[in-house]
């Protein structure tokens, strides 16, 4: 995970096309400028970053389903809950489950798990758009490949 670059996914560990389910691992870095401000002498991962991890898990689920042909854009969030403070160095698992496959959009139930418990949840709506540039499409595909999505994605 590189917080400053909004790269929240270290690996895609599971993708089940039939269930519409995807699981990722996110390793919170031990050091980051983010922790210098949030908070001085008491570093914890901001809730907005936890939301972004769930957002990424949802986005990867949509991309796995569409063969990385559409870019998922965060459009709406509902029912977001954050139950635990997360310290630097924590290894998190996040899941996304497809709630609805709409025309040009998708809705997921996303969650973050730590030590077997759900510590954050949200219902996330994403709009699925054509990649605005070929360069961006190539970079997103590279990142997805690096995270291990390449061999799992369905075309």
């Amino acid at each position: 995970m590189r917080l400053e670059y909004f790269e929240m996914v270290d690996s895609v560990d599971e993708f089940d096309a039939e269930r519409g389910h995807l699981r990722i691992t996110s390793r919170v870095p031990t050091e980051s400028p983010v922790f210098e401000g949030h908070f001085p002498t008491y570093p914890i991962l901001p809730g907005v970053m936890l939301l972004e991890i769930m957002n990424h898990a949802s986005g990867y689920l949509h991309m796995a389903r569409n063969g990385v042909t559409r870019l998922p854009l965060f459009t709406a969030v509902k029912k977001a809950k954050f139950r635990k403070f997360i310290s630097p160095g924590t290894v998190l698992e996040a899941t996304a489950d497809l709630l609805h496959d709409g025309s040009g959009f998708g809705v997921t139930n996303a969650a973050i798990h730590f030590e077997g418990k759900s510590i954050a949840e949200a219902e996330i709506t994403m709009t699925l758009v054509k990649f605005p540039t070929e360069e961006l499409a190539a970079e997103v595909r590279r990142r997805a490949e690096r995270a291990g999505l390449g061999h799992m994605a369905s075309a």
Binding site: T75, A76, H100, D101, G102, S103, G104, F105, V107, T125, T127
Partner: protein, 93 residues
């Protein structure tokens, strides 16, 4: 059994907090009811679930953008209901 319009009006009222009595078959979702694109996604989500269909929002938008259809064809509620009836009929065919 509720008509398509009753179901659509109920969903719009619930999703967008618009009083049910303001929602008429002649109402334009955007111009008259002030529904924005984000609210419309919620409405489509709910209608897809209620009717067991997938409203082709992307192709409708493309048709309007390319001038092959008018906004009214999809966003005046009686027309939206007619499109939904067609999608339900196609699903059951």
């Amino acid at each position: 059994m509720s008509s398509t319009f009753d179901i659509v009006a109920g969903v719009i009222s619930e999703t967008s907090e618009i009083p049910r009595e303001k929602i008429t078959p002649e109402a334009h979702a955007i111009d008259d009811l002030g529904i924005d694109s984000l609210d419309f996604l919620d409405i489509v989500f709910a209608l897809d679930k209620k009717f067991g269909i997938k409203i082709p929002l992307e192709s409708w938008t493309e048709e309007v953008n390319q001038g092959r259809a008018k906004v009214e064809d999809y966003f005046v509620l009686k027309n939206l209901c007619a499109r939904i009836d067609e999608l339900v009929a196609a699903k059951n065919a």
